[in-house]
């Protein structure tokens, strides 16, 4: 480590230290109500209970189930529609702006509609997660397959490549990095919208758990769940980053 690197790490660490010390002092002296900001010690105890008792696994499995199904839908529809659109310059010019402006709509506004159709169970979260995850996947698939360097295509064609070998050896390797980025963004959006959906209206899942403890005024347990979700989000993030790099290496 060079000198400046150490200094940067020091500033970063001390920033977090200041936040935690401020939190500790504010809660221990009761200058902030424990309803808003629980004591650090209480959060730690509750977090240990949460992991130890295994209470978190059932909402976690609900959320992960919704996530897997929604992401699967987003990938299947996004990739196939994106590929079909990318096969023609005309379709690209017609549909790409349409998808990207639809992506700008806060689709969560349709959540009451999803609740109406699919009820409070996992169905409505899967619907909203699939819809939100679809757009990054389809946009990046169009972008990936649609903007393959024309030079590669010409060379491959002049050497007699067409059909599946062309797809396998030229199109796919060229498009893969962009598509994988789309998958990663789509996955994260799926997760966020599913947790969001569970927060707004649900009777199970991690988002619901937070609301439940917030409304019962058990703020320290709520913080324990927030930490739990952040850890899960971090693990999922690292996982998709790892897969993306692995896929690009291939």
């Amino acid at each position: 480590m060079t000198d400046s690197k150490i200094r940067i790490r020091l500033i970063q660490v001390s920033m977090f230290a200041v936040i935690f010390v401020a939190w500790f002092i504010a809660t221990e002296t009761e200058s902030v109500s424990n309803l808003f900001l629980p004591k650090l010690g209480d959060v730690a105890t509750d977090f240990r209970d949460l992991i130890g008792s295994g209470d978190a696994w059932s909402p976690l499995s609900v959320t992960l189930f919704e996530l897997v199904v929604a992401f699967f839908n987003a990938v299947v529809f996004g990739t196939s529609i994106g590929y079909l659109v990318s096969r023609s310059k005309f379709l690209m010019r017609a549909f790409e702006p349409m998808f990207s402006s639809m992506f700008a709509v806060p689709l969560i506004i349709f959540y009451p509609l999803a609740l109406l159709f699919f009820g409070l169970g996992p169905g409505s979260k899967i619907a909203i997660g699939s819809a939100l995850g679809f757009f990054p996947v389809v946009l990046n698939t169009i972008n990936g397959f649609g903007h393959v360097d024309a030079g590669y295509m010409r060379v491959a064609r002049s050497m007699g490549a067409k059909g599946f070998p062309m797809f396998r050896r030229v199109l796919l390797p060229a498009a893969l990095p962009i598509i994988l980025t789309g998958y990663r963004i789509g996955f994260i959006l799926c997760f966020l919208s599913i947790v969001g959906g569970e927060t707004i209206g649900s009777f199970s899942g991690l988002g619901h758990q937070i609301v439940y403890y917030a409304e019962s005024m058990l703020t320290s347990m709520m913080f324990a769940y927030i930490i739990f979700i952040v850890i899960i989000a971090y693990i999922l993030n690292s996982l998709v980053f790892y897969m993306e790099r692995k896929g690009n290496y291939y």
Partner: protein, 278 residues
């Protein structure tokens, strides 16, 4: 999202350029075979599908055809409460967006302008950006109540990050030689900001503004859906729960259209103000 933003920033000018080139190359293209006409056609198809799907499905508690929703649109905008909700949402959007813009631009310039501050604070900003904010919404509601404050706050925390991340990325892209040259020729700090830093920031700033506007709207709607007693989000939930799908469809379509128009305006501005760099 930052990556997505950069992708789209890089793509947008190319898109326009290729579109323009195609129009020049193929002047004989007939009007109904243009991409725009195809788009309109697809949207019409979707509306037709909606119309006839709803009529065939025929369950007035859950589905309403397009025409009926259009009629409801004129009915609900005569409802003073809905009108107030729409009006409130737009001023909350304006306030939250202005706050994110000012804070994002100021802090972004402060962080992005030098290498050490960038390396110190940018990872922290990205880390906080990746945090699923919806998890702290119940906590924020405990703090700010269920009035307009929570919506402005939640809109701000959503809109702030796309803007600051894009501003920092833009500031980092400034060629250091330009700054050195300006300094050696005796430019003052304010001159450097006005003549070099700011013009270079404009393209990525507009990308950030576009993404930030969408995010701010998302934050406000999330807050409204979770807990308010008279916002747009409240009315969408209300119409869904009272089985008035025609009103629900009308309101949702209107908000979606507003979001698309806002995004389109900012995208136009983005290409317009990014043009000076060629």
């Amino acid at each position: 999202m930052a990556i997505d933003g950069e992708n789209r920033a890089a793509k947008a000018p190319a898109d326009v350029a290729s579109g323009a080139a195609a129009i020049i190359q193929v002047p004989t293209e007939s009007w109904f075979r243009t991409p725009a006409a195809t788009r309109v056609g697809v949207i019409l198809l979707i509306v037709l599908f909606w119309e006839f799907g709803a009529r065939i499905y025929n369950d007035p508690d859950f589905m309403a055809p397009a025409t009926q929703s259009l009629v409801s649109l004129f009915e609900i905008v005569q409802d003073v409460e809905v009108l107030t909700a729409i009006y409130d949402m737009f001023w909350q959007l304006a306030v939250a967006f202005a706050m994110s813009l000012v804070a994002g631009l100021m802090l972004g310039m402060a962080v992005g302008i030098s290498r050490p501050t960038y390396r110190t604070f940018f990872p922290i900003i990205l880390m906080v950006y990746a945090f699923p904010q919806i998890t702290v919404l119940p906590l924020l509601v405990l703090m700010f109540g269920i009035g307009p404050a929570i919506k402005v706050v939640f809109g701000f925390t959503h809109g702030f990050f796309p803007i600051i991340v894009n501003v920092i990325a833009g500031a980092q892209n400034i060629n250091p030689a330009l700054l050195t040259a300006a300094k050696s020729m005796g430019a003052s700090r304010s001159q450097i900001y006005r003549r070099i830093v700011f013009p270079h920031l404009v393209p990525s700033l507009f990308t950030g503004m576009r993404l930030g506007m969408t995010a701010t709207l998302l934050g406000i709607i999330l807050a409204e859906l979770y807990a308010t007693r008279k916002g747009i989000g409240y009315f969408t939930s209300f119409y869904a729960e009272s089985f008035e799908p025609h009103n629900l469809f009308a309101l949702v379509t209107m908000i979606a259209t507003a979001a698309i128009i806002l995004n389109e305006l900012l995208r136009r501005a983005e290409t317009r103000f990014g043009r000076w760099r060629g």
